[in-house]
């Protein structure tokens, strides 16, 4: 799989490292010559120096053969244009733009460009972490439409000692895995929950709060 990324900074660097480790072909486009030199020395992909929203540069960078184009510059307008050029002019199938301004994520989707907003993601991460200490992992999956959460059950948890089939879970929530003494168990109705268990839950954003409450009790 060939990925073309336009952007810079730490995000770009670690993303590329990640992708090359997975075996993808990576092409980087960056405007700053010095940064390009550094990237070229540290990474194994191709580095092209130029403006990613310029059709000529995109052509040189091989957009024609790219399977995915990722635009993660700090400027929303550049990210929009890069993705639009890539899909209209070069027929790239998967294009994703970073929307620095969270309001623009919705705008981009309406204009036909897939977008995500790190602000939103990080923001919700911090919010949830700050409020409930027992939540140790929150990963949005399925483009933010599904939450995967890991909760540590303490002694006071209302579900400790109960059987799974006796726990009243709201609609559309699932206990995916219970990790006990580092052993993962995929539970059925007859399994019980003990203090110290790490429970991995699958929830939707709508019922996330109520579901957590079932496991943690009436805490804020």
């Amino acid at each position: 799989m060939n990925v073309l990324i336009v952007g810079g900074g730490k995000t770009l660097y670690f993303l590329c490292r990640n992708f090359t480790a997975k075996g993808y072909g990576v092409i980087i486009v960056n405007r700053n010559r010095e940064e390009c030199v550094q990237l070229a020395r540290q990474l194994s992909g191709t580095v092209v120096c130029g403006d990613g929203s310029d059709p000529r540069i995109l052509k040189e960078a091989g957009a024609m053969g790219a399977d995915a184009v990722l635009a993660i510059t700090p400027n929303d307008q550049d990210n929009l244009v890069i993705c639009q050029l890539a899909s209209i002019r070069f027929g790239v199938l998967r294009t994703v733009a970073l929307a620095n301004d969270p309001d623009n994520a919705e705008v981009f989707e309406k204009l036909g460009v897939s977008a995500f907003s790190t602000t939103q993601i990080v923001g919700s991460l911090i919010e949830q972490r700050a409020s409930l200490e027992q939540i140790t992992n929150l990963v949005p999956v399925g483009e933010g439409r599904v939450n995967v959460t890991e909760i540590v059950l303490d002694v006071h948890s209302p579900v400790v000692g109960k059987l799974l089939k006796d726990i009243n879970l709201p609609e559309n929530a699932l206990i995916a895995v219970v990790i006990r003494n580092n052993q993962p168990i995929v539970p059925r109705g007859a399994n019980d929950l003990l203090a110290g268990d790490h429970v991995v839950l699958i929830t939707l954003p709508e019922n996330h709060g109520p579901v957590l409450k079932v496991f943690t009790g009436e805490k804020k």
């Binding site: 929203s53 400027n75 550049d78 209209i88």
Partner: protein, 146 residues
């Protein structure tokens, strides 16, 4: 032109300021947006529209201009991408009936013409005028059709 259109001009550089001055003088209600407050000094004392200091790629700033009521939006900052983005947001999200974007790079202009965005490419226009002047042996201004 109908009297008193509501026009939003994004970008108060040389072109933007010139447009804003002319349009305001002709009697239209003009709102100018620019990220640099000093650029508003280029507006003549004639200009009686509103000035908004902010980045038009942010929806909140665009909403401040009351763009939903606008008849025309002209995007003429010195960055093509800003112009293209603002033009699309104004046209497709806010439903402005007439949207114009200045695009300096002719290659980009081709692509966006396909998307149905009205663009003005000064580079191509200037090149055309020079070409006509050279081939006809007349002054560039005379080559323009009225």
């Amino acid at each position: 032109m109908k009297n008193n259109l509501y026009i939003v001009v994004v970008g108060c550089g040389r072109v933007g300021a010139h447009l804003a001055n002319r349009l305001s003088r002709e009697g239209h209600s003009v709102v100018v947006v620019d990220t640099d407050e000093a650029s508003f000094n280029d507006l003549s004392p004639d200009f009686s529209g509103f000035r908004i200091h902010g980045n038009a790629t942010e929806i909140t700033v665009l909403k401040e201009t009351k763009v939903e009521q606008a008849d025309v939006l002209i995007a003429t900052t010195h960055e093509d991408n800003v112009n293209l983005m603002v033009a699309q947001v104004a046209g497709k999200i806010f439903g402005v009936s007439r949207v114009l974007a200045r695009v300096l790079d002719p290659k980009r202009e081709e692509v966006y013409a396909q998307l149905g965005i009205e663009t003005v490419c000064p580079t191509s226009v200037a090149a055309e005028m020079f070409l006509r002047a050279v081939s006809n042996g007349v002054a560039p201004q005379e080559g323009i059709q009225p």
